[in-house]
Each structure stands twice: as C-alpha cells, then as structure tokens.
C-alpha cells in the first residue's frame, strides 16, 4: 500500500507542488520572525483549488522545510528562524564562529532529515493500530480527548497558565458562534449571514500569525542590521565517519524522545529540541563541548525539531487532535477538502492516509537534496530586507483570506484577528490555546451533549468509562502539575 502511495505521490504534478512547498518553506524558515505556522497558514488558501494530494504535498513541504530551515539562521546569525530552532543556536553558531559553517549547515540538513524520516517511520508503524484503538471511542471519550488536548496546550504555556486558560476558554466561546450543532438554532450571529456557519478558522490563523506577527515586528523593529557570515567558502559539508560515530548515541536518543514529545498535544519542536539537546549532553562522552560548538549537540537539536513532525502527525491523523498550531491548520486544510482527520479517516480513506505518509518521505528527501545543494546560497536569503517581507506578507494575508470563500467578510475577520494577535503577543498571551480551542470547541460541545443524550442526562457517563476518566485525570495533572511543582520547590527552599 505504501509503495503504491509512493508511486502515486511521485507524479510530476505532486512532486512539483512538494518542491514549491519546500522552497517556500526554506525562505520562510530561514527568515527570523516568519514561522512554519505562518507559512502553512498563508499557503493554505492557495491549495484550495488543488487535488488533496497536491495540496498536502505543498503544505507538508512547507512544514518540513521551514522547520529545517529555521536552523540556517540559528547557525549563521545566532537567531532561530523558527521557535523550534532555538537549541540549534547553542552549538550551531559556535561552529560558524569556528569556521565550520559548511559542516554546521550540512549537519542541520542531514540530522533534520534523519529525524523527519524516523518519525515518519513511527507514523507508518503506529498510526493504524492507534486509529483502530480510537475507533472504540464514543462521545464521552471524544469530549475527554478534546479537554485533554486543550489542557496540554495550556500547560505548556509556561508561566502564563492563567492567561492560557482565559484565552483557551475565549476560543471555546468564539467557537459557539453559528448554528447550534444539535438543534440548528442560530447563536450569537447578530443576524449576520456570514456568521451562520461560525467564524472561519483559517482567516483567524492567517491574521494572528501573519498580520499580527508583522505588526509586532514593526513595533519591535531595531535599526541595526544583522551581521551575516558569507557562505561562499564554507568548507566541507558532510560529517566524517568519526563524527558520524560520535553522533550515533545522540541520534538514537533524540529520535525516540522527539517522536514521543511530538505525539503529546500542545508540545512542539522547541521543547523537543531543548530536551533532546540536554539528554544528548548527559549521554555524551564529551559533555564539556556542548554549547561550545559540539556537532553532537547540533545533531540532537536539528534532529529533534523535525523529529516531532511524525509524532504530531500521528496524533492529528489518528485522533483528529492537533499537536501544535501547524497541525491545527492542516486539520483545517483537510476539512476544506471534505476529509475529517481521526480514526474514521483510516477506514474511509486509507489510500489518502498512505499518501500523506509517502508525502512526508518525499518532503524529507527533497529537503535533503535542496539543503545540501543550497548550503552555499543560504546566507543570501538572510540578506532580504524585512520590510520587503512585510509588504509581501500583508498582501498575501489579504488575498489569501479573501480567496478561501471569495468573501470580504473573511478579510475583515483576518484583519481584526491580526490586530488581536498583535495585542495578545504584547500581553504575552499564548496564541496556541486560542487556536486549538477554536478547532476543538465544536468537537467538545457536540460530544458533550451527545454523551448526555446517551446517558439520558446522567453526568456520571464521563467518569464511569475507563478511557474518558484516564483522559480527564491526565488533563487535571497537566494543568496542576506546574503549580504543585512550584509550591513544592518553594517549600523545599523555605525548609
């Protein structure tokens, strides 16, 4: 089946869209401030007119490539291109200062691809069994799953758990706008026909991660220009056999950890890369070199941020639960094609599931080829003025949001979301829970009410089924763990 899927995705048109996606992702990832989320959000409207496989080829190309390319600016200018590349600054930039630019860029590409391919392998092996298990889920389990997903996203909001909760609930509230899922009663539409189907999700994403980010960058703008190392004389790109051997333990441990972290909703490449970097340091024979230009450290961090993708995709495809903001948009894109991620997708459209797996393999191999061939020119991308990027992003945000439904109302939603996105960023309010809540809100509400319909209004249905009770307990632990740990630490210090 997978072999057939590989044959299907290697059609010239699919390959072309994948290639376009990888190149676009390379630009987006390399330029600090433009995230993978923004890239996928901006390109989603453009894929609306394509076949699902072609559209996904482009979006998965952007996703993989932008995460990989985030390491380029981390290595060359000590600024992570995407949040997931933060740990690559630890050793990557030091290697650049030591004149090992080629090796650093090469290691970033090679280990990112290893991470991506390993996690895709896990997706191939694990997805069907997990989906078969998830087929047993009924409405109470889905409600519990939605709450668990949201709680995970809130719990990783760092110190801002209260803000995460407020913004998460606000997202759930916004998701109630439109027709009621069970009685078809209009709610909070204020007589506006555009709100009958609810608030469009993708324009909100485009606004918050596109316009919001640009406005934030404008306010935070500094006049001093980045000093960019020239990559014309970059030296050797490929690691030696000795370096491969040295990186083997870090590769192994990071591959496993990153897939597990990726599969947990709400986490992402940034967390995975820091955790993997620390773990690689602990098992290394040369821990003192970590942070001083260690190829092991760079390998672990590079591998981890792409290694989460397979895990995230596993959760998204099998449970219909977005692992991060990018997969939240990918769910929106699949819904645009009339496909609902979740266990039923494996029953109704197994061929398409295999196509996605094959597309991930192709995207990684394209990244490998482009990454190794483009190492010499990668510094030129960083020389593009941010102001030019701002102009282009603003224009594409407007047309992209309009193009979804040929609707000016969507443009207005996008612009309002952009302003809100800016305000939220200034207030240090995490955007992830809001986006996730918008997506999970309808799932949570309809399954909550269906559960009560099944139990004739008896609320014990949520706590008498083993899977749902486990998920609720996990949700409570994830929300309270940080506070409990903080209180215990405080007590220890006082004692």
């Amino acid at each position: 089946m997978l072999f057939n899927a590989l044959k299907a995705v290697l059609q010239p048109s699919v390959f072309l869209y994948n290639f376009i996606g990888v190149i676009t992702g390379m630009f987006i990832g390399t330029l600090p401030g433009l995230s993978a989320t923004m890239g996928v959000a901006l390109l989603t409207p453009l894929t609306f007119w394509l076949e699902p496989t072609q559209g996904l080829a482009m979006l998965l190309g952007v996703y993989n490539s932008s995460i990989w390319a985030g390491g380029i600016s981390a290595i060359l200018v000590n600024t992570p291109g995407t949040p997931a590349s933060i740990a690559q600054t630890f050793d990557g930039y030091k290697m650049t200062q030591q004149g090992k630019i080629g090796l650093a860029l090469g290691a970033n590409t090679i280990f990112s691809v290893i991470g991506g391919l390993f996690s895709t392998f896990v997706l191939i092996v694990a997805a069907f069994p997990i989906a078969r298990f998830a087929l047993r889920f009924g409405p109470p389990e889905y409600f519990a799953l939605a709450i668990f997903g949201l709680s995970m996203m809130i719990s990783v909001s760092g110190k801002e758990v209260v803000k995460g909760l407020v913004i998460g609930i606000l997202g759930l509230i916004i998701s109630t706008i439109g027709l009621d899922p069970m009685f078809s009663v209009q709610r909070f539409t204020f007589g506006n026909i555009n709100l009958m189907q609810g608030v469009s999700f993708i324009p909100i994403m485009i606004g918050m991660f596109g316009i919001g980010e640009i406005l934030y960058q404008i306010i935070e703008r500094k006049k001093d220009k980045r000093i960019i190392k020239d990559t014309k004389d970059l030296g050797r790109i490929l690691p030696t056999v000795e370096e491969w051997k040295r990186c083997a333990p870090a590769t192994l441990i990071s591959s496993i950890i990153s897939v597990i972290i990726g599969a947990i909703p709400g986490t992402g490449g940034d967390i995975a890369s820091i955790v993997c970097w620390q773990q690689a340091k602990q098992i290394s024979k040369h821990p003192e070199e970590f942070g001083e230009g260690s190829i092991e450290g760079l390998a672990a961090a590079s591998l981890a941020n792409n290694g989460v993708i397979g895990g995230t995709m596993t959760t998204m495809m099998t449970l219909g639960l977005p692992g991060d903001s990018v997969t939240a948009i990918l769910i929106g894109s699949l819904m645009m094609y009339g496909l609902q991620p979740g266990p039923q997708l494996f029953v109704s459209n197994p061929d398409f599931v295999y196509n996605i797996m094959a597309l991930l393999i192709v995207a990684n191999l394209t990244v490998l080829i482009i990454g190794l061939l483009s190492a010499k020119v990668s510094s030129y991308i960083l020389k593009v003025d941010p102001e030019i990027i701002w102009i282009i992003v603003i224009l594409f945000c407007i047309i992209g949001s309009y193009a979804l439904n040929n609707s000016l109302f969507d443009v207005v939603i996008m612009l309002v979301s952009g302003l809100l996105g800016f305000v939220f960023r200034k207030l240090e309010v995490p955007l992830g829970p809001f986006i996730l809540a918008l997506l999970l809100g309808p799932i949570a509400e309809s399954n909550f009410r269906r559960s009560l319909a099944l139990s004739s209004g008896d609320y014990s249905i949520f706590v008498t089924r083993p899977i749902s009770i486990v998920l609720f307990i996990l949700a409570i632990i994830s929300l309270t763990y940080g506070s409990i740990k903080k209180a215990m630490n405080k007590r220890t210090i006082e004692a």
Binding site: W49, V162, I173, E387, I391, V429
Partner: protein
C-alpha cells in the same frame, strides 16, 4: 502605561457576562436530558468570568506593564499606524475602484514609508500587483475584481 492583565481580564469577563446573558434566550433542552443550545455557552461564560477574575487579581499583585507606549520608538509607532491606515485605504480602493490600483497604491506607499529604494519599490509594487492578479484570476480562478 496600562496594566494589561487587568484590562484584558475586565474585557474577557465582560465577554463572559454577555455570553451568559445572550444564552438565556435560547431554547431549553429536551426532556430526555439533552442540554439546549445555551447550556455550553453558559458553562463557558461562567468559566471565563472565574478565570478572568483570577487574572485580574494576579494583575493587581504583579503590576506588570505590557503596553508602555512611551517606550516604543516614535518612528515604529508611525510605521505601525501607517501600515494599518494603508490596509484600510487598500480595502476602500479595492471595493470602490479596482484590485490592481489598490494593490499598487498600498505596496508603493508602504515601500516609501519603509524606506525601500525607489526603483526596487516600484518594481515590487507593479510586479506583485499584476502578478497576484494574474495568478489568482487565471490559476486559482478567484475573482479579485469586485466591481
């Protein structure tokens, strides 16, 4: 100088109150225990109010200033406001006149304000305006012509 947490908390708690208030007008649930359309929004409204109050209390204790506008560079504020204004002008021109004109005006004026070199600016404004119009009209079949 504004205490962002308090203001944010007040706004979200007002949203919570209004949601509860509006939800009261929705039909009731069925006799067999299925909650009505207003049930879930009311629960969310109550939860939002509770969490907003916690946020306000936290804001009072911490007193963290997020929007210290006085510290923002004046030039950046000007660019920020001009960017918003130019998007508004773009929308008006697009609806009233045409997409291409609206796009050229917005891109060129933003380019001038962002101090992009004139030649580069003209090329970007023209290429992107005509390029996106052609791409969306002919490839994606999106009608950018509104009149």
């Amino acid at each position: 100088m504004l205490n962002g947490d308090i203001i944010f908390g007040i706004i979200t708690s007002l949203i919570g109150i209004s949601w509860i208030f509006m939800s009261r007008g929705f039909p009731a649930g069925t006799a067999d225990g299925v909650p009505g359309p207003g049930y879930f929004p009311i629960i969310l409204g109550v939860a939002l109010i509770i969490m907003s109050v916690v946020l306000i209390i936290k804001g009072i204790k911490i007193k963290k200033i997020y929007f210290n506008v006085k510290e923002w560079p004046k030039e950046n504020i000007k660019i920020f406001l001009f960017t918003i204004l130019s998007v508004v002008i773009f929308m008006v021109l697009w609806i009233k006149v045409s997409y291409i004109l609206a796009s050229i005006v917005m891109l060129f004026s933003l380019g001038c304000f962002y101090k992009i070199k004139p030649m580069k600016n003209i090329i970007i404004a023209i290429c992107f305006s005509f390029g996106t119009y052609w791409l969306f009209n002919n490839v994606f079949h999106v009608m950018l012509k509104l009149r």
